[in-house]
């Protein structure tokens, strides 16, 4: 069926409270913040948050709002701008369970989830770290039936719902990425339910010239939310840059726990239109 075009509040209502949520976007780019903000406004609790190999505000904000019980992420931070304040505090106080994982194991686990592959033996590398030793949930030993050698393995990951930011949707709900798909397509293919925020809608047929691997057909997309500039304060590569002042402001507010709480309260008190008006137009 063609994807449905929904408002952000309708779309995030599809997230089952207490389920596993995947959020796309990498480092300071392409975070589906319009959807994440709406989820925070509606205070939807997330049992397990799965991120891209590197997440920033799309992980830190829901953690700041106290909505996340467990996280599967190889990185939550703000690159040159600093550490992730809510993630860090929650980790240090024990308020957040961290399922330690690295970029490779996560990418392969999502690929396995996308393909009905039950688990994946890990390539060399992670076995020389302390990562697989801290938790038996994501890493277990397996014997290669062809060689007899032993490896760490990770289970397939299939988030119940995945939130992504894409560049455009056509009128039928096919969506397209721009310059960098990151691991967002793997997460999309692994999703049981996929919600995509897009910068704009284009006529049906407009995506026909896009290269394979830069689009997702509508039958994989459950809902499309039109949210121009919705990645703010992260960037959408090639469309608009990140708002570093807004990110720095967020990080500063986190100097104490109440500062972050105020930020979350501020967000909850307004809708996305008000947010967009307040921050001014980056798009």
């Amino acid at each position: 069926m063609p994807a449905r075009f929904l408002e952000a509040n309708e779309a995030v209502a599809l997230i089952e409270p207490g389920s596993t949520l995947g959020v796309g976007g990498m480092q300071l780019a392409a975070a589906p913040m319009a959807l994440v903000r709406e989820m925070v406004r509606r205070r939807i609790p997330i049992a397990r948050l799965v991120t891209s190999p590197s997440a920033s505000l799309q992980a830190d904000l829901p953690i700041a709002a106290g909505l996340v019980t467990e996280i599967v992420s190889p990185y939550v931070g703000f690159e040159h701008l600093g550490l992730a304040p809510a993630f860090r505090r929650a980790a240090e106080t024990g308020a957040l369970r961290i399922l330690e994982i690295d970029e490779g194991s996560l990418t392969h686990a999502l690929h396995a989830g996308a393909g009905g592959i039950p688990f994946v033996p890990c390539p060399p590398g992670v076995d020389l770290t302390d990562i697989p030793g801290v938790d038996r949930e994501l890493f277990r030993r397996v014997v290669d039936p062809f060689t007899g050698s032993e490896h760490w393995a990770v289970p397939a990951i299939r988030p119940d719902t995945v939130l992504l930011a894409c560049a455009v949707a056509d009128e039928r709900g096919n969506v397209a990425f721009d310059r960098f798909p990151f691991t967002d397509r793997e997460m999309a293919l692994a999703a049981r339910r996929l919600i995509v925020e897009v910068e704009e809608v284009v006529p049906a047929g407009s995506l026909a010239d896009r290269a394979p691997g830069t689009t997702l057909p509508s039958f994989l997309v459950d809902a499309v939310v039109v949210a121009p500039g919705g990645c703010h304060p992260t960037e959408y590569p090639g469309r608009y840059g990140r708002d570093e002042a807004a990110i720095v402001d967020y990080l500063r507010s986190a100097k104490d726990a109440t500062g972050l709480e105020e930020r979350v309260a501020e967000l909850v008190a307004e809708d996305e239109d008000a947010y967009r008006a307040r921050r001014g137009g980056t798009s």
Partner: protein, 252 residues
């Protein structure tokens, strides 16, 4: 020219360490290793290629040094690999020659830690996470760099190995390890590694003393040849670097 910054010197030292034809990978906050790669390409290593983190861009040549590894300003690039392909090749283990990495903690054997200072369950400082550092042993060698040369960063033993260095004893078997960490670059000095895999002081930067470096280092480096002074940037290196760093990212 003598008005270079410590960061510029670091970029120049790293650039010198690359060989022509090598393929270099880097992660978040790429300005410094990217500057080094571009400088190497512009001088002695025209066939060096580098991959910038999550973007998957191969040898991008924008008019400045981007602060983020995933930004739209990583353009133009000759080609772009999807991130999952970079991950595959990191696991394959024969595609990349040099991994540029760092850590909250770096230990005497070149192990890096981006995960947790203190006990993992109850960390004193929770780091962002390890991203791709577990793939360090799969590249032919790695260059470790950090802008924080303090006893808290340079420790005898990392609290958590998230980026594997050299085996730190005969009981540690690492069958597929390659050269491992080969060079460490800081604002004060450079280190290499002795045959046991332990870091030793190689050069101290102009204006820094060996004592300064030892004071800033939380472990005793392995004995080795008398440290020399890091060769200063040549005029050519500086002029070329500043053309690459038109935005002055390394001068702040």
């Amino acid at each position: 020219m003598t008005d270079w910054t410590a960061t510029e010197l670091m970029a120049i030292v790293m650039a010198r360490a690359f060989d022509d034809g090598e393929v270099v990978v880097m992660g978040a906050v790429p300005a410094l290793p990217m500057a080094a790669c571009r400088l190497a390409r512009a001088t002695h290593a025209p066939n060096l290629e580098f991959i910038v983190g999550g973007s998957g861009t191969v040898s991008p040549e924008p008019d400045h040094l981007p602060a983020s590894s995933c930004g739209g300003d990583l353009a133009p690039a000759a080609t772009t690999l999807p991130l999952p392909d970079v991950v595959l090749l990191e696991g394959r283990g024969d595609a990349f020659d040099v991994f540029c990495a760092g850590g909250l903690q770096i230990d005497a054997y070149g192990n890096c830690n981006l995960i947790a200072v203190g006990d993992w369950e109850h960390p004193k400082l929770r780091g962002p996470g390890t991203v791709g550092l577990p793939f360090l042993p799969n590249t032919e060698r790695s260059i470790i760099y950090t802008q924080s040369h303090t006893p808290r960063t340079f420790v005898e033993r990392v609290d958590f190995v998230s980026g594997p260095g050299h085996p730190s004893g005969p009981d540690e078997e690492r069958p597929y390890r390659k050269q491992g960490p080969s060079l460490v670059v800081t604002p004060l000095a450079t280190f290499d590694f002795d045959e046991t895999g332990r870091m030793r002081l190689a050069t101290v930067h102009p204006g820094t003393t060996v004592d300064d470096v030892l004071q800033a280092t939380g472990f005793t480096p392995a004995p080795g040849p008398e440290p020399t002074i890091t060769p200063e940037p040549t005029d050519d290196e500086l002029v070329t670097l500043r053309a690459i760093d038109a935005g002055g990212a390394l001068r702040r």
